[in-house]
Symmetry: C2
């Protein structure tokens, strides 16, 4: 059944619904429907209904161009095509092994009624749990070189709603605290933007397959009407410069009855193209440790000197620790010339091939190989994309030659501060998610793929599901990770993960770097979690590569909870969100891809919570032993964060567990199939 | 005293206020104070306090550039200069004859601590009723060609507040209905943005002297923190391209105890440069009628054909009517080839010198001259700026040769739809308020000035007080005018003018085209005003050129109220806002520049209101006769809009009048000095 494609008979509806509706299409299970209209001025719009109730009111479609009249007026309906699709495909790694892709498709052909009679297609794919639509610019003489000044796609949410969102387009790297407000108090948001109507319908607006195009922010115009704002270009007046034919990314709306339903949708992955890399058995999920947290604590330094972290000796210690505890990789940051001056100013002199003299790169590769441990190559750019691209081939060749199979890239820079070399030979200062960076990231990913290297990027462009097409793009940052618990002011709040699950995590894997069992940041700052919460992060914050972020000596200090970190896999055949609400709590169960075992994680917020968990995800074919890592009765992130009850007992699939989550608490359970 | 400049001794304070405050300056009356800080990262900010209470919390300063690192970090304080200024200057025409300009100035020199050590100055002018500040880019080798990707000036309003605002940057020509929300529900606003804190402090954020720069929108980031967003360029990746040395426009904050106080500020005009045109006695305030409302009613057409409005015969009738009733000019729209096809598509074939054959331009100029009436040249561009600029000299020469002294320009086009010819010979599609349009408008104004022609522009760039420097830029549109009462869906609401007074009108004159005594739009649509309200508009909506917009036959039908329109002047020596609240009511008194007479206008909203007006603006040297045009007892915009009491009686300066405003009502009074 792998990559099987079942062509079904055309079942889509195509009827004039209202006076000005030109086409309508329902989802396969008739849950959702999309209507397309063209008004008297020739402006096209779409709307989305669920069970006959309007979810997205008629919302504008179209573009402003820098060198031609806008493409949003004077359109005539020039026909439509429909299609249906149903297949099930297999992920080489992921949260689910098999993913069903079942939708009805409606392609609208628009053509200007006046000269130059330009054409534009809009393609809708309607699933029972969401809608994706994109623009397709056909090849045509009158619009060959397309210079997009702005995309004016709107999302007019029909019913009064609340929203969980992050300010978009003005801040560094998607690393702000999420806000929870009424939808009509959103200013400009990054995607995914998570919405809940007062009637209980959950909506997530995002995009899929962001390829050679600018990232989309969502600006509220008025009321609950949002409009796309493309991330700017510093090379061109146009935010997107393309040659037709081409397509925009998919604009996606997941629509569900519950927050869990948002997470359970496969819309994002399904709207991306299939694996373009062929055999990707070399992409391996793993757990890793690294020379990293010690720098965030300021015990060690990225720069050279007496406290340099990335030394040969330290790295050997970490390799030893990894080998002894079953970790496959070791991240080493600060290994290369030169982190010694002001990072923002110094980025252009960074070398990706010249190690510091106290880091014996060849000896360490050999040392690791002997112990079955690889080193994760680290490529911090400080946003100097031009400098990185100039060295990219050599940098990757070096790592591949050493037997490395993973890189962690970094783009620490202010918004509007990433330098890219334009075709005109001039440097431009770009945003993290403009077209130039979308192009850059795929360049790194594809160059790395040629060398069988997987990529994890920090301060990345947002995830739009491209791991389906490029399965070596395994994880990324793109939200506040654990490092904010070292030095954040404030650190991550107790409900950070329960927020992330229903916002950032709808995009894809997050290299959150969990597992700080010491629960202590820089200068003794308290992490606002219990130990059980740190363990639960391995389940609720998905990544195929998961760090055990704490110092090795802390794992030695806390062997009990460390066992869970050693046991937990990072590749799954099945995932279920059992319950949750954004920013309140989240309970997830996942089945190990390589055994019959299940794992459960629960995280809460800054209150005590009791959560009932039915174990009906366990099968009846096995006997089940639960290894439970639960907040002790008096656990509390502030007063007693290390209080954890670790136990083991038989459980049955019919059983309902009651989890008592402490303030900042969590629960982690391993269900072993016997 | 004309243009006298009194140099005062330096009185400004320059003290380190807090640990990180590098400079502070108070207003001359010590009402307002500005503090400037530089934080540990070298980021500069300013704050504003009033009577020691923070009004604007520390707010960011700086720029993103397309081709250099951002100018907002790593700054060191490199010194400051202070100055004081006090003079009184005379307006050639206006709302006030004499304007005092009294401020303390603080110039902050910023210099980067790291290479390339770029310099940037910020200059603050602090008045008792407001603050203006601008950036000055000094001449320097390392930043000669400045490419501004974004200006990141912030305005963080300290106290909880409400706001009256219009969505900025996405819509046509500033012609939306104003919104009234909490400040933290603003999305992106045009300026002026009017704010009232819960503590009763009124703030208006705007800009002054928008010259060769992009217009500023205000985007809310979070909470009550607003950030500048410059209007885009379709020619350049940079929104502003300039060569140093140059200055930004002034960013302005009027701060007052009352809505009236906002209006009474002269900050905008004072921050503009003095008259650059020399003798401008040829710029004459006037009233006019025009071939205009009949087209909005669709009785006549702009296009040729059997219902063509701009015919020789119609124009003669309008000239006759103007001459008979004391109007100095007649606007004629639709006189030129060719309005016959789709306006948006057809703009490039418009001629500004070729009249329709049924419009005898020479004969009409002679006919008018004989009757003492001039014709207002009409230059609708449909946003085809390139086509207009190519014909500009010839078009103006034609009008000047005919003895015309006014043009009304028009820029009907969608945002992002104005075509400008770039230096590279390519057309770009620009916003109404980008740098290209700022340059264009001043080109028209200065070319017109050479020919002693005044300019009124519709669908304009916003007003930033440039009439001080270019007194032939007499008026403009830039908000919903009377035409929306013809065909608007909805038409202007009853409180439209009381909103405009404290929002749009803070920018400058508005060619609102009042005086539709028929109170009827297209197809019989009701105008939501009483007759007295339409008369009051001549006082509360300032313009040195005011239209009597209705059809001549309607003025014949309503001779009573028409008398006020014939009497009311359009040039003032004195203006006072007696009372008002945004969107509720506004009462203004103005003194005729050419007599001792005063005029009063009051407008309300959709409720009945009683407003007390103390007549203490009248002097004791004269006897006063009030000619009152008041809503009758049963007047109501919906049920009885024409009910007006017109009376005449003696009044005394000690008196307090009680005005009873109907729903949608108003009051207009002429105080004749005997």
């Amino acid at each position: 059944m792998k990559f099987a494609l079942i062509a079904l008979a055309l079942v889509a509806l195509l009827v004039p619904a209202k006076a000005d509706a030109v086409a309508e299409i329902a989802s396969p299970g008739k849950v959702l429907a999309v209507q397309v209209r063209i008004d008297g001025e020739g402006k096209a719009s779409y709307s989305v209904s669920r069970g006959g109730h309007t979810v997205i009111a008629p919302s504008a479609l179209g573009f402003l161009l820098t060198d031609q009249p806008q493409l949003k007026r004077n359109f005539a309906f020039a026909g439509a095509d429909t299609a249906s699709h149903d297949d099930t495909w297999e992920q080489p790694w992921g949260e689910w092994r098999f993913i069903r892709n079942r939708y009805n498709e409606l392609r609208i052909h628009l053509k200007e009624k006046i000269a130059p009679a330009r054409r534009l297609d809009v393609v809708f794919r309607v699933y029972d749990d969401g809608v994706g639509f994109r623009y397709e610019f056909p090849e045509q003489v009158v619009l060959k070189n397309v210079h997009i000044a702005e995309e004016v796609t709107e999302f007019d949410v029909a019913d009064p709603a609340e929203a969980w969102w992050e300010v978009g387009g003005d801040w560094n790297s998607y690393e702000q605290l999420y806000q929870h407000t009424r939808l009509d108090a959103v200013s400009q948001a990054h995607t995914p933007l998570t919405i809940k109507t007062d009637g209980g319908v959950y909506i997530a607006i995002h995009e899929a397959a962001l390829v050679d195009y600018a990232g989309m922010w969502l600006k509220r115009i008025d009321g609950q009407r949002l409009r796309s704002v493309l991330s700017p270009s510093a090379q061109h007046a146009a935010k997107v410069v393309r040659t037709a034919p081409f397509t925009s990314p998919w604009r996606t709306l997941i629509i569900a009855d519950s927050a869990a339903g948002l997470y359970m949708s496969h819309l994002e992955l399904n709207l991306n193209e299939p694996n373009a890399l062929g055999d990707v058995s070399w992409v391996r999920p793993y757990k890793y440790v690294g020379i990293w947290w010690a720098m965030h604590l300021t015990n060690w330094t990225w720069a050279s000197g007496p406290h340099h972290g990335a030394t040969t000796e330290h790295t050997k210690q970490y390799i030893d620790f990894a080998a002894a505890n079953g970790f496959k990789e070791v991240l080493v940051e600060g290994w290369n010339y030169s982190w010694d001056d002001d990072w923002f100013a110094n980025g252009h002199s960074l070398s990706y091939t010249q190690p510091y003299p106290d880091f014996d790169i060849k000896a360490l590769a050999a040392y690791g190989k002997a112990k079955g441990v690889k080193i994760i190559g680290h490529h911090e750019t400080f946003g100097k994309v031009d400098n990185y691209e100039a060295q990219l081939s050599g940098a990757l060749d070096l790592l591949a030659g050493l037997g490395y199979d993973s890189i962690k890239t970094g783009y620490v820079a202010d918004e509007g501060g990433l330098t890219v070399l334009g075709e005109d030979g001039k440097l431009s200062y770009e945003y993290h998610d403009g077209q130039a960076l979308a192009v850059h990231h795929l360049k790194v990913v594809t160059e790395a793929a040629k060398r069988h290297i997987a990529v994890v990027d920090h301060e990345p462009i947002k995830d739009t599901g491209l791991r389906r097409t490029y399965p070596n793009w395994v994880s990324r940052e793109g939200a506040r990770g654990q490092e904010y618990n070292a030095w954040g002011n404030p650190p991550n709040p107790p409900n950070h993960e329960s927020l992330l699950v229903f916002t950032r995590m709808l995009a894809g894997p997050f290299d959150f770097t969990p597992g700080v069992l010491s629960l202590t940041g820089k200068g003794g700052q308290k992490i606002q979690n219990t130990v059980a919460h740190q363990l639960a992060d391995y389940i609720v914050i998905y990544s195929p590569v998961q760090m055990a972020a704490d110092l090795p000596e802390n794992y030695v200090k806390y062997p009990g909870p460390f066992q869970f970190i050693k046991d937990v896999p990072t590749d799954w055949s099945e995932t279920r969100v059992l319950s949750g609400e954004p920013g309140e709590f989240a309970v997830m169960a996942r089945k190990d891809r390589n055994s019959n075992n299940w794992y459960l994680g629960a995280v809460g917020d800054n209150t005590k919570r009791r959560v009932a968990v039915k174990l009906d995800f366990l099968d009846n074919k096995h006997h089940w032993v639960a290894e439970t890592y639960l907040d002790a009765k008096d656990a509390d992130w502030d007063s007693n964060p290390h209080a954890i009850n670790i136990a083991r007992r038989a459980v049955t699939p019919g059983e309902t567990l009651t989890l008592n989550l402490a303030r900042g608490g969590g629960a982690a359970i391993r269900f072993v199939a016997k």
